[in-house]
């Protein structure tokens, strides 16, 4: 059996057994031992997780012994232990590849998922030396997906999915979105294919559930690799609306969003995203119509922030600077000092000759560190990942 699957460095005081002179000690655990520890002493396992993960070994051990581990405590425990194993795999997947968060938002989400505070302003030197190459990360991700497929095979043994299983899928989808987007300006299309495999599995597993429509739409939108007028999905470049030949790709995503609008739990976010597509089609009036519906029905301050921000861009496209400025101000009323709206408002004020106010707005935005929902544009499900993981960890105790 391969040791060194996971090197767990723990403070010995936590397990209370070593002389003070050896206050820290490296324990070498294999995947099954780590899974056991994760089940029994979750906090301790999470503390040491990620120091050194060999996903190949985790895969080979879990596929060889996982089923036995699930059944080891008798039938009454099978359903719970199956989900413990599945959640353990998510913990492993989240730690794959280099820690190269693109933004503080990503850093905060990943730190929250691990139950730690994120360092601000650049990574540590230690993190840099531990970074794998992108190619190694891709290889690890490939093994990780085989691991995820193994989990799905286990879960499907449970004919009627438990209420907690859907939480696992939500978390997994968030994680896939993050990995699809984390390495640069364009998405990793291979990972988007992994997303679609997961979504098809979920569609079969939960045929009547519409909550995954947003993820379907997201996958279709990001699966498109434009080379024309709108090279980057994430920009809101109102100078360059998408060309006509690119619109079918928007239409496909819009179809899913339209279906998601029928579901009250996803309607507001779907509308905000459909409005964004309308802006990219150079149709600000249609965007404004949809966004006014959002304002009339949603009290979620992040949704209202996004709605107001997009209204600002829509009015900007129409050349109505006064209404654009009002919309950006409204966005900041919902989320003070958020960077995207701050830059938009400051720019509008600057052009209007109001330099002092514009400068104050920028100064605050640069130092406030407000998590801006617009920056979650690229992985809307990932922002919920910490909460979903905490729920899984708690309910599986």
């Amino acid at each position: 059996m391969r040791r060194l699957v996971i090197v767990l460095v723990v403070a010995v005081s936590l397990i209370g057994s070593a002389p003070r002179a050896r206050a820290r000690q490296a324990l070498e655990l294999n995947a099954m031992e780590m899974l056991d520890l994760y089940d029994r002493r979750r906090e301790l396992a999470l503390t040491g997780f990620g120091t050194s993960l060999h996903v190949d070994s985790v895969y080979s051990e879990l596929t060889r012994e996982g089923k036995k581990w699930v059944a080891a405590k008798g039938p009454a425990e099978v359903e719970r232990r199956r989900l413990v194993l599945a959640t353990f795999v998510l913990e492993v997947l989240e730690r794959l590849g280099p820690d190269r968060e693109q933004t503080d938002a990503e850093k905060d989400i990943r730190a929250a998922a691990r139950g730690a505070a994120a360092p601000r302003g650049g990574g540590s030197a230690a993190a840099r030396t531990n970074q794998s190459t992108a190619m190694a990360a891709d290889t690890e991700w490939g093994v990780g997906m085989r691991l995820a497929n193994y989990v799905r095979q286990q879960l499907i043994d449970q004919r009627t999915p438990s209420p907690l299983e859907i939480v696992w899928h939500q978390a997994f989808i968030g994680l896939i979105q993050y990995y699809a987007m984390k390495d640069g300006g364009t998405p990793n299309t291979g990972v988007i294919t992994d997303l679609k495999i997961e979504l098809e599995y979920v569609r079969d597993r939960y045929p009547k559930d519409s909550q995954f429509l947003l993820a379907w739409a997201w996958g279709d939108y990001w699966d498109y690799q434009p080379g024309g007028s709108m090279m980057w999905h994430e920009k809101m470049d109102i100078d360059h609306p998408w060309d006509t030949w690119e619109i079918p790709f928007l239409t496909s995503a819009e179809g899913y969003y339209a279906a998601a609008i029928a579901n009250s739990s996803t309607a507001a976010e779907a509308k905000v995203r459909v409005a964004e597509m309308r802006l990219k089609r150079n149709d600000p009036d249609a965007a404004l119509t949809i966004l006014r519906e959002v304002d009339a029905t949603s009290r979620d301050r992040e949704v209202r922030y996004l709605s107001s921000l997009e209204q600002g861009w829509a009015y900007d496209m129409k050349g109505d600077t006064a209404k654009a400025t009002d919309s950006f101000r409204r966005a900041l009323a919902f989320l003070p000092d958020a960077q995207t709206a701050s830059i938009a408002l400051a720019g509008a004020l600057m052009i209007d000759g109001q330099l002092d106010e514009a400068s104050d707005i920028i100064d605050r935005a640069l130092t406030a560190h407000v998590l801006d929902p617009w920056t979650f544009h690229r992985y809307p499900a990932f922002q919920h990942y910490p909460d979903l993981m905490n729920r899984l960890r708690e309910e599986l105790k």
Binding site: R100, G184, G185, T340, I351
Partner: protein, 299 residues
């Protein structure tokens, strides 16, 4: 007299004008009531080197098509209000390390009374430091290359800067030249640059492992960056070679210090609205004159 007196339209700050008049020295101009003073911040280069020996009579200023009489010229050195913008994407860790090293030792190139702000950016923008030039080093110690780029948004953050009456406002951006996540469209960036009192210079670097690909990939925004920088009286240049970053930084700072301030007066009735500017050095068409392309005279 403060630098704010020099670079701002006096008509937009009557109190500043009053201060200017009371503090004037004998060789400085007398400003008449009912007229507005315009002050232009100008650098002149020949074959890349600053031209430092010019006299007031060497310049020709055309404001909205009308030749202007220059009331006064100053070649004073003012403390800088410097914003350093550092792109954390696009050109590989080795180039970023060169930039952080150059910026970390920029104290040597700065005066004690210069104020410095360091902004880093990828998909978001972060203020790493604001203070005296002496404390700049630690601000850039731990920068890493990280994915997506909001270059246009970052440049807006550098250009929207409250006028500091004691200082010359300048910004130097180090970037790979790509933009993948900004919400500021290129036209808006240029519009903001035209109205900014900050002189912006942008230095571009490319990934040494893929120079051709990164350069051609980044060309799509080159014209917009050039338009934005030149609108402020700044430049867009490439940083080349191992010492390129240090050279770019020292050249930019030298440029900012070796500038002329030219004063001329407009009739109040001529002031409102947008003013196109053209400045040349008489008899020296070969000189490169770096000056903002226009200004907003107010409503």
């Amino acid at each position: 007299m403060t630098f704010g007196d020099l670079v701002s339209l006096v008509a937009t700050a009557v109190s500043v004008l009053a201060g200017f008049q009371s503090a004037q020295t004998p060789q400085r101009p007398v400003f008449q009531a009912g007229t507005d003073t315009v002050v232009l911040d100008i650098a002149v280069r020949h074959n890349g080197a600053p031209v430092l020996s010019l006299k007031q009579t060497d310049f020709d200023i055309v404001d909205n098509g009308a030749h202007q009489t220059i009331d006064h010229m100053s070649a004073e050195t003012f403390p800088l209000d410097l914003t350093l913008l550092i792109d954390e994407t696009g050109y590989g860790q080795s180039v970023l390390d060169q930039i952080t090293t150059a910026v970390g030792t920029a104290t040597d190139l700065l005066a004690d009374d210069d104020k410095v702000r360091v902004l880093t950016f990828n998909a978001t923008i972060q203020q790493q430091y604001e203070g005296s030039s002496a404390g700049i080093g630690p601000a850039t110690e731990r920068l890493e290359i990280k994915g997506r780029t909001s270059l246009f948004d970052a440049l807006v953050a550098g250009l929207v800067r409250k006028r500091n009456p004691e200082r010359r406002s300048v910004a130097i951006a180090f970037s790979g030249g790509m933009d993948t996540t900004s919400t500021t469209p290129p036209s808006k960036l240029v519009e903001i640059a035209r109205r900014s009192d900050v002189v912006l210079s942008i230095f571009l670097a490319y990934n040494p492992d893929h120079p051709t690909a990164t350069r051609s990939g980044n060309e799509q925004y080159r014209d917009h960056l050039k338009a934005a920088a030149e609108a402020t009286g700044g430049v867009v240049e490439e940083m080349l070679g191992d010492s390129g970053v240090t050279k770019a930084l020292s050249t930019a700072l030298a440029d900012f210090r070796a500038r002329y301030a030219l004063f001329y007066t407009l009739k109040r009735s001529d002031r409102p609205g947008w003013h196109d500017l053209k400045v040349t050095v008489k008899g020296h068409e070969e000189y490169q004159v770096l000056v903002r392309k226009g200004y907003d005279g107010g409503k």
